[in-house]
Each structure stands twice: as structure tokens, then as C-alpha cells.
């Protein structure tokens, strides 16, 4: 059975941002390294994602992918260019679960911050635990959970923040292959039920093709957009399908070219 992520018609930038899309225009960002020298992280990056779209961003390490996500989330401001995004939540590479809270309380964190009572927040979060295969571990502390389980709790936390834009920073890279596939499927399912705009940063090109509506390829530092590849394949996609492999080659080609341009 094929499912299609809802896609909206192209609209103006403004309505995209007010409806929970993402729009970066000519964004540059530099930071100071330890020696005090200025290092350019991103240079002239323009990217867009409409509401409900999943944009994957691939690139070599150090190409400013994390900076990109932080700009979208509002943790940083661009030195040049504009960032217009709906409210965004970040799922960082490390799960960053608070060690003094139970799994349930960690997942419900955003609800508590939003002002819900502990009981309500726990009820809302607890309803989703079974879906993620975490049933029975509500009261466990993070140090008692495996890496994969912690990542799932982090996912829940991200989703429960109810923000229209999700920024996922290599969420599956630390997991084993089987867990990765499980979570990939779960993420797709969750996004079908509750469409969000997702900006997914990953170094795994295959994963990008399997999950995304569009893939942006960034160059090495300073990060520039080398190519944008539309993935118009029906879902679910298998990594071994010829169409997927073909797109994967295109993306890798783009990456290599970007490396050559250095």
C-alpha cells in the first residue's frame, strides 16, 4: 500500500512560514573558533520546505548542518540573509535526556514547559509509549535504557512539543540497522498521522532518499547548497529499488563534486 505524504501547492514565503514551513534566503553564518579567528559555517544558503514536507540535508562533516538547524530553531541568528520559519523544535544528535527524570517525564517535558499539569502531561505522553515499543519503561531512568530506547524517548519528546517544524540532527546515526529501520518506519507513520515540516540532517544518503521529499546537498565548509534533488517516488520506498539507487548515485555525485570544488 503506498502512502503519500501530503504536499501542498507552492505558496508564498510568508504563508509558508505562518503555516509552519521553512524558508532560508541567502543565509550566511560565521562563528569564532577557539583562537578567535572567524570561521564561516554557512555561505549564501537558500532552502525552502513547505508545510508537511520532509527536507533532508546531506553533506560532509563540518559543513554547517547543525548550524543550519540551530538557525531554523531560532537558537542562532544569521549574519546575512533571512530565516523565516514556523516554530521549530530541535532533536539533537545526543538524546540529551535529563538524567533525573523518568522516561515518561522526559517525553512529557515540552508539555510541562507549556504549562500542563504533571498528570495531564504524563497521560498524553504515556499514550504513545506503547506505539514506540516502550511500554513498561515509563518509570525507568535514562541510564537504565539502551541507546535505541533513549532515542525513541527523544523522538517522543520532539513530537510532543507540538511544534509544526521538526529539526532532526542525525537522529538515527547512532542506532543499529534493525532499530534504525524500525524507527524510520515509525517516523513515517507518525508524520502521516500528524503532518509536520521536517528538516532532517543525515550523513546517510540512502536514508535521505528513503525518507525525504527533497534532498539538499551541502558542500564542505563554508556550507553552500550544491544541489537539490526532488524525490517523487511513492512510499514506502525500499533502499534496493533501482529508482532509489539512481537517486542515491546522483546525490553522491553531487557530494563528490562539491569535494572537488575545494
Amino acid at each position: 500500500m503506498s502512502t503519500q505524504l501530503k504536499s501542498r501547492d507552492r505558496a508564498t514565503h510568508e504563508s509558508d512560514s505562518t503555516r509552519g514551513g521553512v524558508a532560508l534566503q541567502g543565509v550566511s553564518r560565521a562563528y569564532r573558533d577557539r583562537g578567535g579567528a572567524s570561521v564561516a559555517a554557512l555561505s549564501g544558503v537558500s532552502l525552502r520546505a513547505t508545510h508537511g514536507e520532509l527536507l533532508a540535508v546531506v553533506g560532509p562533516s563540518g559543513c554547517g548542518k547543525t548550524t543550519l538547524l540551530e538557525l531554523i530553531c531560532g537558537l542562532q541568528r544569521p549574519d546575512e540573509g533571512t530565516v523565516a520559519c514556523g516554530p521549530a523544535v530541535l532533536m539533537p544528535q545526543r538524546d540529551l535526556l535529563l538524567p533525573w527524570l523518568s522516561a515518561l517525564d522526559n517525553a512529557a517535558l515540552a508539555l510541562r514547559i507549556a504549562g500542563r499539569s504533571r498528570r495531564e502531561a504524563r497521560a498524553d505522553a504515556g499514550a504513545l509509549f506503547a506505539e514506540l515499543g516502550l511500554d513498561g519503561f515509563q518509570r525507568a531512568r535514562p541510564h537504565e535504557l539502551s541507546g535505541g530506547m533513549r532515542q525513541r524517548v527523544a523522538f517522543l519528546r520532539t513530537l510532543l512539543s507540538r511544534k509544526p517544524v521538526l529539526c532532526l540532527d542525525e537522529p538515527l546515526s547512532a542506532l543499529d540497522a534493525i532499530t534504525r529501520e524500525e524507527l524510520r518506519d515509525w517516523l513515517c507513520g507518525a508524520l502521516v498521522r500528524e503532518p509536520r515540516t521536517v528538516v532532517l540532517v543525515t550523513h546517510d544518503v540512502e536514508e535521505a532518499i528513503v525518507l525525504a521529499d527533497r534532498v539538499a546537498v551541502l558542500s564542505a565548509r563554508p556550507g553552500r547548497v550544491l544541489a537539490e534533488i526532488a524525490v517523487d517516488l511513492p512510499r514506502p520506498r525500499t533502499p534496493t529499488a533501482p529508482a532509489v539507487i539512481a537517486l542515491r548515485q546522483r546525490a553522491l555525485h553531487g557530494l563528490r563534486e562539491g569535494a572537488h570544488q575545494l
Binding site: 531560532g74 540529551l96 535529563l98 533525573w100 517535558l109 514547559i113 512539543s161 511544534k163 529539526c167
Partner: protein, 260 residues
């Protein structure tokens, strides 16, 4: 339970060995008993003065309990404020450091002048002596909070106060508790200093005061008995706090031997 008792065995054995050496030292006539009484004499004096020692222990324990608690609260709050406001830190931190060098014997009279002959001057002395380790460890604990976690909280929509409440304060609790352990250990000697630097009314004024009076009255064995009670009390306090710590901040303790 048996495992805990076994844990206490090496300490008990060492203590017994030291006491045995002490007994021998005195019995062999190597020191005048008026200067250092023998353990057996101290024990028998402790037994016959159990009531007096208990009454004074109760007073000292109350001072230590309340005084250290106030020191913990004050030190923790001050630590949080210093963390939140760099201006306050610049103003207050050097003074807090200097406060540790204030000779208590000097200000004892002033405290009595302000607050009379009850327990308040003693509490002040204990708070003065004990608050500083708590401030230092709290500030350090708050500064060592994972900045990525704070970033995360911000993206989840937390305000500064919420970031403090959900992120920084709980993260700083283990550090503050280690400051509390220091404060408690110092608090017992702080009670001694407090009792011997402030005037008192009434015959019972705590173990410290009793030690002083007994030294003056040449009741050296009883002074040592009171000191022994203080010694054991300090140990009991320390391990009670360790227990409370395990219950209140269990994430700071990883059970040994369990594989991940």
C-alpha cells in the same frame, strides 16, 4: 543489611587498633592521665554521666541540625543568585570568601549583643562557618550544566526561569549535595566553636560548652567522653546525609557492578 555491616568492618577494626594503642600508651605510664586519660576511664566516665552527655548532645544536635540546614538553604540560594547574576557574583563572592577568615571569638560578643543568650548566636556562627562550601559547589555545579541541554530546553519553549527549574537546578543538585556533605562535617566543629564563643545561660549548653567547662574543671576524662560523642555524632550525620542523598538524587549514583 549484612553487606553494610561488613562494609563497616575495616573502619571498626582500625578504630579498635588505635584505641588499643592509646590504652597501652597511657597504661605504660608514657603520659600523665591528666593530659590524656585512658580509654577505659573515658568509657566508665561516659557511662556514669550518660544523662549529662545525652542532654548536651541533644542541644548540640539541634544546633547542628538547624544550623546546617539554614546554611544549606542560604548557601544554595546564594549560589543560584550568583549564577544568575554576574554583577552579584562580582559583588558578593569576594566577601563570601573573606567571611571564612572572620575570627569567631571576636564576633561572639557582637552576636550576643544582637540576639541575646539563646540559640540564635550559635546558629549564626554555624551558618557562617558552613555556608561557603555549599555556595562554591552550587555555583560550580550550575556552571557545569550541559549547555546543549539548556539549548534543548530553549527549543522546547522554556523561559529562563523554566530552564533553571527543569535544567540547571536538578543538574546542580549532586554538586550541591557534595557541598552539603562538607558543610555537615564542618558543622559539628562549627557547633563547638559556636558554643565556646558565645555566652550562655543555664547549665546545659551543648557538648562543646561542656568540653570547655570540663577542661577548666580538670574533668579531663569527661571532656574526652564528650569529644568522643561529638566524633561519633559527626560520623552518624555524614552517613545519614549520604543515605538521604541516595534517595533524593539517585541519578547521581550508578549501582556498581551492573553492566550496561
Amino acid at each position: 543489611m549484612t553487606r553494610r555491616l561488613l562494609h563497616a568492618l575495616p573502619a571498626a577494626a582500625l578504630a579498635l587498633a588505635l584505641v588499643g594503642a592509646w590504652e597501652g600508651y597511657v597504661d605504660l605510664g608514657l603520659v600523665n592521665p591528666i593530659v590524656l586519660p585512658a580509654p577505659h576511664e573515658i568509657a566508665s566516665v561516659a557511662w556514669s554521666n550518660a544523662g549529662l552527655l545525652a542532654a548536651n548532645l541533644e542541644l548540640t544536635a539541634q544546633e547542628v541540625g538547624l544550623g546546617v540546614l539554614l546554611a544549606l538553604l542560604f548557601g544554595f540560594v546564594l549560589g543560584v543568585l550568583i549564577h544568575l547574576s554576574p554583577a552579584l557574583r562580582r559583588a558578593v563572592y569576594p566577601l563570601a570568601v573573606g567571611s571564612q577568615a572572620v575570627p569567631i571569638a571576636l564576633i561572639g560578643v557582637l552576636l550576643v549583643f544582637w540576639w541575646g543568650f539563646g540559640v540564635l548566636p550559635k546558629l549564626f556562627v554555624i551558618v557562617l562557618i558552613c555556608f561557603f562550601p555549599v555556595v562554591v559547589t552550587t555555583v560550580d555545579g550550575l556552571s557545569a550544566v550541559d549547555p546543549d541541554q539548556l539549548k534543548l530546553l530553549r527549543t522546547l519553549g522554556a523561559s529562563r526561569w523554566q530552564a533553571l527549574r527543569f535544567g540547571e537546578l536538578p543538574a546542580a543538585v549532586p554538586a550541591a549535595l557534595s557541598g552539603a556533605r562538607i558543610a555537615l562535617a564542618v558543622g559539628v566543629i562549627g557547633a563547638y566553636i559556636a558554643e565556646t564563643s558565645t555566652a550562655t545561660s543555664g547549665p546545659y549548653a551543648g557538648l562543646g560548652h561542656q568540653i570547655n567547662a570540663d577542661i577548666n574543671g580538670l574533668q579531663t576524662p569527661r571532656a574526652y567522653a564528650a569529644a568522643a560523642v561529638l566524633f561519633l555524632f559527626a560520623i552518624a550525620c555524614f552517613y545519614t546525609l549520604a543515605l538521604a542523598e541516595r534517595v533524593l538524587a539517585p541519578w547521581a549514583h550508578r549501582p556498581r557492578g551492573e553492566s550496561r
